[in-house]
């Protein structure tokens, strides 16, 4: 159903525009009941109705996004072609008083993996985007020149982005607010997105839809930024009860379940992981790092100012920012950028790690893939496979120079910009053996050999090695299994954590809230009931979560998935961790876990649905 028409350009900088958007009236609480589809090639945009059956079976966020992309035929497209779609998807909870609910999902086919990619982020973009009167914004086509896509009460228009070309994500956001007005919320790409680095991010309020290269997809569409403003709010089914429930959740979010995030931030994982020998070091060649104490948040904060911040509409506030010693501002430090730009590259200088994190933020680079790819290149140099003698483990200047090269693109930069899997194929000499990736996505900061339920989660992950779509490390950090000798009985536990993540990513709530729930599926059902009025049960939500995971698999199968890509880098299946000989996996042991997982999902033993 298309309700907006194109009209001719009205000024040289305003390339295309539509009439104002005629909003559909949704009787469905929590939703607007439609998405906005924008063809960037033709400039035509229009609303498409979303029926209740679809919304109830997918909820929103990742769940809805994957289904929309399947219907758009995105699995079969080149993700950087003009035919490809990218969806910014909200959820029924966005705009509600529930803590951590100001989130959106960016869903597309990943140019890094060629598989489904759903990245989540928090910011005012979610609130303002939903207030445009849509449950999702779906972009296809390619703008004729670098543009800002503006969506507001006046309609949809493309404005020239020439003045923003090459700017950092931060500076782009600042200037956009200055030029358009502070009521606009923006999602931007940095130089990395403009250059289609395959692990470029989309940034907003300093947060990133980080993994899998959604920034490259937006860059390929010639979109430097999306700016949204709106004032349309859906109603809630039971507003008074929802406010009361939200108050209780906020209260609980100040309790012990989130103390770690509030007081220390995720970076405090570093010393724990180091002690357990699962801290990926020097491209996963070791599981502990001699310089770990020096770069721990406890140590970094001794000589630096530390401040706390939070995403929009969050009462937890896990963000810990550390001042750079050269006085040029402060940097958000999380476990993932700390490990990837620190131990993984052998770096023990906190100032370098902070500067590298800042650079990744500004360029719009996924820190895990950036660190993983550079660490891989460092090992290639060590082994004489790459003739770049300056690129060495432990050398901070090497790390910073490599990051610059990725975005500015000399020959080595172009190679690095493709991620470790493609780089290994280009280098040859069996270097794929130690490329730190699954399905092309660089592995996060958990050595799978010492966290073997997580190993399973990484291997079967629909978007590759990912700690946000599978929380299986929770199983390893428990008395339920022996983390270094996990058997097939852990498969159903891996399924359970993946299902929980799928539901959280569709509702969309922050994962750091998970400890606040006593009975996750039942309480989620109650939340959804108060927002939408649906009499949902815990059992229905379990089935929905399982269906969302299967839908991601469906997407991947259409995109060309085969069972042999559910694995880990060969070296990890051959060599135990040198610092913990118990931490060993084999092709056979991982294969047994994968078969058990597939059967627990109700798929064939090989993983076909």
């Amino acid at each position: 159903m298309i309700s907006a028409r194109t009209v001719p350009a009205t000024s040289p900088s305003q390339q295309r525009t539509t009439d104002s958007i005629h909003l559909m009236n949704s009787s469905l609480p929590g939703y607007h009941g439609c998405l906005l589809r924008i063809d960037l090639t033709t400039g035509v945009s229009g609303q498409v109705a979303l029926d209740e059956t679809l919304l109830r079976s997918t909820i929103g966020g990742s769940g809805l996004g994957v289904e929309l992309l399947l219907r758009a035929g995105a699995a079969e497209c080149d993700p950087l072609s003009s035919d490809a779609s990218i969806a910014f998807v909200f959820s029924p909870l966005v705009g509600s008083p529930l803590t951590t609910s100001a989130k959106f999902a960016v869903v597309s086919k990943s140019p890094l993996t060629g598989r489904i990619n759903d990245s989540l982020a928090s910011s005012g973009f979610a609130l303002a985007g939903k207030k445009t009167g849509h449950d999702a914004l779906v972009l296809t086509g390619r703008a004729p020149r670098l543009s800002i896509l503006v969506i507001d009460e006046g309609g949809v228009r493309l404005e020239s982005a020439e003045a923003y070309r090459g700017l950092s994500t931060r500076e782009t956001e600042r200037r956009l607010r200055e030029n358009l007005g502070s009521e606009f919320q923006t999602a931007t790409v940095g130089l990395a997105g403009e250059r289609q680095v395959l692990f470029a991010t989309i940034s907003h309020d300093g947060r990133h839809a980080g993994r899998g290269g959604s920034g490259a997809v937006l860059g390929s569409k010639n979109i430097k930024a999306i700016a949204v403003r709106g004032s349309v709010r859906p109603h809630w089914a039971e507003p008074a009860a929802l406010v009361e429930l939200a108050r209780k959740f906020s209260e609980k979010s100040f309790g012990p379940a989130t103390a770690k995030y509030r007081e220390l931030g995720t970076a405090s994982n570093l010393l724990t992981f180091n002690r357990l020998h699962v801290l990926p070091t020097r491209n996963f060649q070791q599981g502990s790092f001699a310089g770990a104490e020096a770069i721990s948040p406890e140590q970094i904060s001794v000589a630096r100012e530390r401040t706390r911040s939070s995403c929009m509409a969050c009462t937890i506030g896990c963000e810990h920012l550390y001042g750079l010693q050269n006085g040029t501002g402060s940097v958000r430090l999380e476990y993932e950028n700390l490990f990837a730009l620190g131990p993984l590259c052998g770096i023990d200088d906190p100032e370098v790690i902070l500067a590298a994190s800042r650079l990744c933020d500004d360029l719009g680079l996924d820190t895990i893939s950036a660190g993983g790819t550079i660490a891989f290149a460092m090992e290639c140099v060590e082994r004489g496979l790459l003739d770049e003698p300056w690129l060495k483990f432990g050398d901070g200047a090497s790390l910073l120079r490599s990051l610059d090269l990725i975005a500015t693109g000399d020959r080595l930069g172009q190679l690095l910009a493709q991620g470790s899997r493609r780089m290994a194929h280009a280098i040859g000499h069996d270097s794929i053996d130690f490329a730190p990736q699954v399905k092309g996505l660089e592995i996060p900061g958990y050595d799978p050999r010492g966290l073997q339920t997580m190993a399973l989660g990484f291997a079967v992950g629909s978007r590759g090695a990912d700690h946000n779509r599978s929380g299986a490390y929770e199983v390893d950090f428990s008395t339920a299994v022996d983390r270094c000798n996990v058997g097939p009985e852990s498969a159903h536990l891996a399924v359970e954590t993946e299902d929980k993540a799928a539901l959280m990513d569709s509702l969309i709530l922050c994962k750091f809230l998970r400890g606040v729930f006593t009975d996750f599926f039942s309480e989620s059902a109650e939340i959804l009931r108060l927002v939408t009025g649906w009499e949902v049960t815990a059992n229905e939500l379990r089935q929905t979560a399982g269906r969302i995971v299967t839908n991601k698999k469906r997407f991947n199968i259409r995109a060309g998935w085969t069972p042999d890509e559910d694995t880990l880098p060969p070296r990890m299946l051959r060599q135990a961790l040198p610092d913990d000989p118990r931490a060993a996996l084999s092709k056979e042991s991982l294969g047994g876990l994968i078969r058990a997982y597939n059967l627990a999902r109700g798929w064939s033993a090989e993983g076909w649905i």
Binding site: A267, S268, N269, T272, E474, D476, F477, G515
Partner: protein, 87 residues
């Protein structure tokens, strides 16, 4: 029995030390001793002879344990960790 205790994350922040010693024949005894030595640690991490929700113990970096009657030997190392390892 005397055991070495290593503390991480919130447990370290509350106790104010990264490493200490405690006495006891089982995990429950050691937790009770730690609670007596470090009252702020007791407030957030230890309830009597058990760990509060959100915390775990680990023996020697290998096996996670929570049961108070888990036996300990002289010289064992007990790690006190936040349960939530995610980032």
């Amino acid at each position: 029995m005397q055991v070495v205790v290593e503390l991480f994350g919130i447990a370290r922040a509350r106790a104010g030390v990264a490493r200490t010693t405690a006495v006891g024949d089982c995990l429950g005894d050691v937790l009770a001793d730690l609670a007596a030595q470090f009252p702020p640690l007791a407030e957030s991490c230890i309830a009597g002879r058990t760990l509060r929700p959100g915390f775990l113990a680990n023996l020697g970096g290998q096996r996670f344990v929570t049961a108070p009657d888990t036996p300990l030997a002289d010289g064992d190392t007990v790690l006190l960790l936040p349960l939530d390892a995610g980032g």
